[in-house]
Every structure is written in C-alpha cells, then in structure tokens.
C-alpha cells in the first residue's frame, strides 16, 4: 500500500514534529530562547515591532504546527524535519520531472531545455492558486518534484512536511546571483526550504488616457478607489483576501498588514463595502490583460502585471505611455517574493536541486522574465535603469522594477497568520465578496 506523501520519508514524522514544535513554541513564549526543533534567530534589535498586532508582553503568535511566525523584522529559521540529501550526488535521469506552479508562470522553452540537458521529460502541472495547490499536494492528488511556494504559505508546507530541506551545495547560484536580502530571507533563514523566484510589489495600475486624476500625486493614492464614481464597472481589486483587506488597512495608515485585530479588519471590510455603490467594484486577477486592453481602467495590481501588460497584452497601436503604475514608498508598499521548493513527493531529489540552481542562473532567469513572465527575478545583475534603456521596461513603468533595497526589516510583506487570524481575514473577505444588498 502506498503511504501518504508526508509519511513516506524518514526523520521526524508529523506527530513528532508537532510535539517538538509545540515544546519549542512553549519554550519560545516562556523564555524567549532558542527553539529545540524550531530555532528562531531573532535578535533583540530585529524585534522592535511586535508580531501581528500584539502589544509588548503578549504571547508570541504561532502558525501551523506551532512554528513562530516570521515577519520582515523578525527572522525565523525553520526546523529541518529531515536531513537534506548528501552533497556530490549525480542527478537522476530518465522519466518525468514535474514542475507545479501557477498557470503560465514559467517559460516552457526553458523547461524543455532543462529536460534536454538532464535527459528527462519536464511536465508543467498548474494550480489555480497557491492555497488550493498546497491542498492538492497534501491530498496526494499531485506528486510534483518542485513547486512554486510563497513565504506566507511556507510554515504550512513545512509543518505538513510537504517540502524537503535543501542542500545549498547544489544551488551555488543562490549566493552568487541573488539579492543579499533574499539569499537568507527572514522567513527562511539559511534558505532551508526555499530559493527565490520572482518579486513584485502591490500598487495601482491605471489607464492614464481614461483616468483623469494624477493618482501618484494624491495625498493618499489608495483613495482613488473611493473616488472612482466615474469609473463604475471599470474598477477592480485583486481577488486575494490579504491584498484586498491589506489595501484598505494601508489606506487608513495601518501599516501592520498582518494584523489580527478584529476591529481593524472589520473596519477595513466595512470600508471596502463602500466601493459597491461608489464604483460597483469588480474582483479579479486579469489586470495584466484588462488594463492594456482597456476593459478595465483602474486596478489594484502587482508590479509584474504591468510589465507583462507591456510585453504581451498591449494591443497594436496602443502606446505604452497609456499605462501608469503607482506603488507606495518602502514600509508602506506590500512587497512579495515567490519561491521554489522541492516537494516531498519528488522521486528525483538531486535533479530537483539542479532545477532550483537552473532557475537562479542569470541567463535563464532573465530570459524567463523578459521573454515570457514579466515578473522580475531578484537578480543582482538586473539594473532598473538598464531595463529602461534596453527597452525591456518603458520609462513610465520604471517604478515596476524592484531592487534589493525594497526588501529588508523595514519592508512590508504579507505573512502567515495564526489560524484565528486566517479565519478572521477569510470571513472578512467572504463578507466583502458577498456583495451587500
């Protein structure tokens, strides 16, 4: 009988892992010391801001499996639930190598080349969103070798033993090519489970030939959605509960976008519900297409969307200058980075490591960005000004390009919430999604 994926490997089983994590968590909350199984490398200086919205002296917020919740100013080293593979092994060949990712989020040509180089057939299996992707993985419905991962789902994937520890000896491109802030990121100190893939910020995209306001010059640009009566039916928000509610929080200068304060979340939802009557707000994630095509004029959007819009979706005859993008300054703009992880289900763990290294290669990563994806990889080699002079990004969208300085302890990033926090945000978004009377 085939065992469930998370029981298949040696080392700690999930029960042991939970037990040790719980012990570790209680140790952390009680004494603030290092975790037994789950060591946190948080320093006193980095803990200037309490996690979530808890005040000083309140207990540490814990995520799935009792893991401490990482924040940009609170670095967390995740426990190894098994040893990484040994160094110096030859990559497996033959058969199929499965990459599990968002649809159309990786250049298939590059996958083919990888398969050719290592003598495997590379299969691309898409998921709708990361949460449902993880659910399918956990259920055993898919058995990929590597998968896209987001930092806010990392705790869950590690606690559920869905992803394997990485041996960085196989991934030299990480230290060589990637921004210092993401080589050993706050959510995965030591890069035990992830390597970065792309990065982006959340802001506002609009058609400046349709929207008359100078959004970037407004005292609070997020207010544009609450002044969008003239753009009824042409205004949309991202279909993401964190992004949507987080935007309403930021609009009111609540900079903790990982808050679990019910009053703040409820108020944010109430504010969002005002948009029904103001602009008949729409919800969706097609802004990379609808904005350049002109079927939407004003949209909450990720920075990569507008680069993709320029590269792929701008209709012939429509100049790139009609596209505008705004993002807030550091600390007020949500930044994110996607990652790659090795799935526990892999039958080709060495090759999976090689794949991670391949995706961090300067040439491969850059080609994936400019020839297909539009989402920027965090490469040292990428210079925003060069991207503009080379015509990869038009000058009016230069602010869609991020740099290493956009990340760091004083940046703002959506991260894992406690279970109660997730319920709070989910129910809040459900309330908004219900559409009112």
């Amino acid at each position: 009988m085939t065992r469930h994926a998370k029981e298949r490997y040696g080392g700690l089983n999930r029960r042991d892992f939970l037990l040790r994590s719980a012990v570790a968590a209680s140790a952390l909350s009680g004494a603030g010391g290092l975790l037994a199984a789950c060591s946190s490398s948080t320093t006193a200086e980095e803990q200037t801001t309490p996690v979530g919205s808890t005040g000083a002296g309140e207990p540490e917020l814990l995520g799935p499996g009792g893991l401490p919740l990482a924040r940009p100013d609170k670095r967390v080293e995740l426990p190894l639930w098994e040893d990484p593979i040994e160094s110096g092994l030859e990559p497996e060949t033959g058969g199929t190598f499965t990459v599990y990712n968002y649809p159309d989020y990786l250049y298939k040509k590059l996958l083919k080349e990888f398969g050719k180089e290592y003598g495997v057939k590379v299969q691309y299996t898409p998921f709708d969103n990361i949460a449902s992707g993880i659910q399918r993985l956990a259920s055993g419905a898919v058995q990929p070798d590597v998968m896209e991962m987001t930092p806010d789902n990392l705790d869950l994937a590690v606690a559920g033993q869905l992803i394997k520890p990485i041996n960085l000896d196989y991934v030299p491109n990480l230290a060589k090519n990637i921004w210092p802030e993401l080589v050993s990121p706050f959510y995965d100190v030591g890069s035990h489970y992830t390597v970065p893939y792309t990065c982006y910020a959340t802001g506002i995209a609009w058609r400046n030939d349709k929207v008359s306001e100078d959004i970037a010059a407004m005292p609070q640009p997020w207010d544009i959605f609450w002044q969008a009566e003239a753009y009824k039916g042409k205004t949309a928000l991202l279909s993401e509960e964190r992004e949507t509610i987080g935007m309403a929080l930021l609009r009111k200068d609540h900079l903790d976008i990982n808050t679990e304060d019910p009053a703040l979340v409820d108020q944010a939802v109430a504010d969002l519900k005002e948009l029904y009557d103001i602009c008949n707000i729409k919800i969706g994630d097609l802004q990379y297409q609808t904005i350049p095509e002109g079927t939407a004029w004003l949209n909450q959007a990720w920075s990569g969307d507008m680069i993709a819009a320029y590269i792929y979706y701008l209709p012939e005859g429509t100049p790139a200058t009609v596209l505008s993008y705004w993002k807030a300054e550091k600390g007020k703009v949500p930044v994110q980075n996607d990652c790659f992880s090795i799935c526990t289900t892999t039958k080709k763990p060495v090759l999976a490591h090689h794949f991670l290294n391949y995706m961090l290669d300067n040439g491969v990563s850059y080609e994936n960005f400019v020839d297909f994806n539009g989402y920027q990889p965090p490469l040292n080699e990428i210079d925003p000004s060069t991207l503009v002079t080379d015509g990869v990004v038009p000058e009016n969208l230069a602010n869609c390009v991020l740099t290493n300085d956009d990340f760091g302890p004083d940046s703002s990033q959506y991260m894992t919430l406690t279970q109660n926090g997730q319920k709070l945000w989910q129910d809040g978004y459900s309330d908004f999604l219900a559409g009112g009377s």
């Binding site: 999930r14 939970l18 799935p64 499996g65 709708d128 969103n129 990361i130 949460a131 449902s132 993880i134 659910q135 956990a138 259920s139 869950l156 606690a159 559920g160 869905l162 009824k232 039916g233 042409k234 949309a236 509960e241 948009l275 029904y276 008949n280 707000i281 729409k282 919800i283 969706g284 079927t295 279970q419 997730q422 319920k423 989910q426 129910d427 978004y429 459900s430 309330d431 908004f432 999604l433 219900a434 559409g435 009112g436 009377s437």
Partner: protein, 297 residues
C-alpha cells in the same frame, strides 16, 4: 424467481450509479460539513460516524444565512437571479418547445438538434465567447448602435445583474426546453381536438388543456435548470466579476479554495442542498399526484 428479479435487475446499474455518484459524495460532503479541520494543512477531516458529528460549522452557516447574517444578501440575490432566469427560460423556452413539438412538422428533428447544438461546446467556452460578443466594441454593441436601439455602446460586462441573469438563461435554457418538448410532444392530439370540438378557442384550448398537460414538463425543466444555477459561480465571475453580482456558489468556491475553513464551504453546500431538496420534493410530489390521478381515470 428468475422472472421476479429480472426486470428489477435492469435498475441495478442505475442504483449503483446513484449510490456511487450521488449518495456517497453527498454523505462525504455531510461528513465534511459536520467534521473538523486539520490544524496544520487546513484540510477538511470528515467525521463518518453520525454520533460524533460536530454541528458547529452548520450552526454558524445557518446563522450567517439567516436574517441579519452576512450571507443573507448573497443568498437572496441568488434566489432572485435564479427565479428570474427560470422565469425568462419559461417565457423563451415554452414557445420554442411548443413550436418544435406541435408545429415544426418535418423540421422537428433539425430544430431539436439546433437546440442541443450549443451543448456540444463547453459551457465555459460559450460564456467566454459571450465576453467577446458583449465587449464595448463587440458585435452586440455594434449591432445595437447600428440599428439605433442604443445611442452608445452599453457596458454589458461592467458588473450588471441583467448580464448575469441573461447568461444563466443562455447557458441553461436547452436543459429547460428538452423535457418541456418531451411533455408537449406526448400530449395526445385527440385531447386538443376534443376541446376544440366542444367549442373552446385556440387560446382556451391552450390554457385549459395544453398548459395543464405540460405542467410536469415545465416543472421538470425548471428543476433541471434551477439546481445547477443555484450552485453556479463561474457565470457571474466570467460575465460580471463585480462583488455585487456574486452568488452563493461563489462563497462555496471561496471557502473550498484554501484557508482554514473548508467546512464552511461544505456547510453552505448542505444548507443549499436542503433548500433544493424542498424544490425537488415539490416536483416529486407533483409527479406522484399526477400519476395517481392518471391511474384513477
């Protein structure tokens, strides 16, 4: 003995089908709705033993769907959209079914094929086609402005309830027409002739003979389209996208699509199923009564 079991035996594949593809999945949803959630992976953990069922999620959903709850409006909106869509399907579908059944003559088969033809194409594909047709510069707006029905293009896709309702009608109306056609086609011509011979006008014949005799077809068609409409979430997503036009299916989809409360999605499904069972029950009761009346006459 052999003969006794022969004819009921033919029902066996259908019974197995019903058990495997309806009862088992339904019980699974029930076990999920009344179950718990894995605290790490947030996967639903069904509880199969009814004695251990946890009614907390179901209570919460009933409360949220009840008066003053935050899902009341979306539930009422769904009811409204489905009621209007079924009503429109009746207005559009009845004349079509009537014509094909009673008046089409030789073209009956061809017309039936034309009614069914859209079903050969995937539902989502058909809806996506409408997105192009209804676009500001799409053929619908071009036609309406060319014929001066509209002075300027209408933003059909700007989050209008009317677009969602019309899309529902378009998507499901063949399923309404087919059982109605079958009911109308089965009406004995002699009944109509008898009515006319007794002096009834065409209209009165229709009102007092055809319409009552096609009631089961109307009900069957209505049930057939209303059930999937209540669970629909992709139609409003595709042709509207506005929060104010979402349906209860969007909430089920949302809660099942990740997060710590898949049980809420299952509980909404159960409440919806209970409501639909009432509709189905009325339909079955009507059939039962009608069959009884036929036997007594």
């Amino acid at each position: 003995m052999y003969r006794r079991w022969l004819w009921p035996g033919f029902a066996l594949p259908g019974v197995i089908w019903l058990i495997v593809l309806f009862l088992v999945p339904f019980y699974t949803v029930l076990a999920v709705a009344l179950g718990t959630v894995d605290p790490i992976l947030f996967q639903a953990v069904p509880i199969w033993n009814p004695l251990e069922w946890n009614v907390g999620w179901l209570n919460e959903v009933v409360h949220r769907l009840g008066p003053g709850g935050n899902l009341t409006d979306v539930a009422l909106r769904t009811l409204e959209y489905v009621a209007i869509a079924v009503g429109l399907s009746l207005l559009i579908g009845y004349p079509v079914a009537y014509y094909i059944a009673r008046l089409a003559g030789r073209t009956k088969a061809l017309l039936l094929i034309l009614v069914i033809a859209p079903l050969w194409i995937n539902y989502l594909m058909r809806m996506l086609a409408w997105v192009n047709l209804l676009a500001p510069d799409g053929y619908v707006n071009r036609f309406l402005t060319y014929t001066h029905i509209l002075s300027e293009p209408r933003d059909w896709l700007g989050g209008r309830p009317s677009t969602v309702i019309l899309a529902l009608v378009y998507g499901y109306i063949p399923f309404f027409i087919l059982p109605l056609f079958a009911a109308l086609d089965r009406i004995d011509q002699s009944h109509l002739e008898a009515a006319r011979d007794l002096g009834a006008s065409r209209f009165r014949t229709f009102l007092h003979v055809t319409l009552p005799l096609s009631k089961l077809g109307i009900l069957g068609g209505a049930v057939l389209i209303a059930l999937p409409m209540f669970g629909d979430y992709y139609t409003p997503n595709i042709v509207s996208g506005a929060a104010q036009t979402t349906m209860i299916g969007n909430q089920i989809d949302f809660y099942f699509h990740g997060g710590p409360q898949p049980t809420i999605g299952a509980a909404i499904t159960i409440v919806l199923a209970a409501f639909l069972t009432l509709l189905m029950g009325y339909y079955l009761w009507t059939i039962h009564r009608s069959t009884g009346q036929e036997r007594t006459t």
